[in-house]
Amino acid sequence: MEALQKSAREALENHKAKVIIGYSEGSGGRMRPIFVQSPAEAEKLTWNDRCTQNLAVYIAKPEVQKLGKPALVAPLPVLRAVLQLASENQIKEGDLLVLALSDGRVTELSQFSEMEEFVAKTPTHLASKDQEAIERLEKMTPQERWQYWQSELTRCFKCYACRAACPMCYCSRCTVECNQPQWIPVPAHPLGNWEWHLMRAMHLAGRCVSCGACGDACPLDIPIHLLTMKVEADIHREFGSQAGMKVQSEHALSSFKVQDKENFII
């Protein structure tokens, strides 16, 4: 924690960054994002297990960009989101600084190549509770899975907090708001919720860095992050590519190999 505050203070004092985007204590035991603009405020920065938001979501926002060059407090998923955004040409080299966190240490990274090296050294497996939840669902019968997702997704009231929390959901016009044609029914009824969540997972296929921020953001605790994590795990297994590892990478669903698996096609 002190190392983080020290790094942040130095970055501001040496004009390496204009604003530090990090975590601070919020209300009700939740953490909240904080935008630190003066070295004196750096002491508010903190880091613990409750820091679940993916701060990479702020990089592309115009009101944040107005603050000047940011330095991002980045546990692994945030760092991977930065690399994925770079691979999708949403940010350029030098646009931001990263204060990468691992094992209580803080590493300042400015080049994408340094970030790639850092990510490559760190294991990227899912949290055990998410892995177990996915395996538990996979063991169910199709009918049980249908019932499970019906009862979970029917609770959704379409606040779109999942979309707002996701660093990869940066489209200025989302299909869910498209009304010519109306792809997704507007009401938060079973069909509208079903199609919205299935579409969200498909549009994040090969792009999800499995941070789980969408599920944490859900006010009803619907485990929607399992959908995107499952798609990402399948794509990693079948096509060998993983989101947020390299800037120069082929995107899983906009590339192909002639010998891709097709045992389900007759």
């Binding site: 996979e138 997972a201 007759i266």
Partner: protein, 144 residues
């Protein structure tokens, strides 16, 4: 149950499977009349949302078919589609959609007989599975 006739929607590409289905007809091969063919420029254009729409509008089964790999009119549309099908099929299965109701296939413009077999086998399988009431009920209950 013997009176149940499945409704099958077939999403096919213009260049291979649509022409293949045409050949089935001009060859006077008989096959199940349960299929409604929707023609697309390429399998690469067949969005997974269209499959969901078909189920919610009352389809009991779906066929998605296009040119064999390396035969795409647009060179690589079917290769891209194939990756998307894999991702979609696994996700649909994970969410409890009955994926055995969706048949992916490659049917070339010369494979009129294969098209007839594909439709017949899909119709038979879906007939055994019965109507897809679970999905239809979800859709119908949503608008009440």
């Amino acid at each position: 149950m013997s009176e149940f006739e499945p409704k099958i929607v077939a999403f096919v590409c213009n260049w291979c499977t649509y022409a293949g289905a045409d050949l089935t007809g001009t060859s006077r091969i008989k096959y199940a009349p349960n299929v409604r063919i929707v023609r697309f420029p390429c399998t690469g254009r067949i969005d997974f949302m269209l499959l969901l729409k078909a189920f919610s509008q009352g389809a009991d089964g779906i066929i998605v078919s296009g040119c064999h790999p390396n035969d795409c009119h647009y060179t690589s549309g079917n290769f891209h589609a194939r990756r998307r099908w894999m991702a979609f099929r696994n996700l649909a299965e994970f969410m409890g959609i009955e994926v055995e109701r969706i048949q992916f296939s490659w049917v070339s413009a010369a494979e009129g007989a294969k098209w007839a077999d594909l439709v017949n086998s899909t119709v038979n399988r879906v007939r055994e599975l019965g109507p897809y009431d679970a999905y239809r009920q979800m859709a119908a209950s949503s608008w009440q």
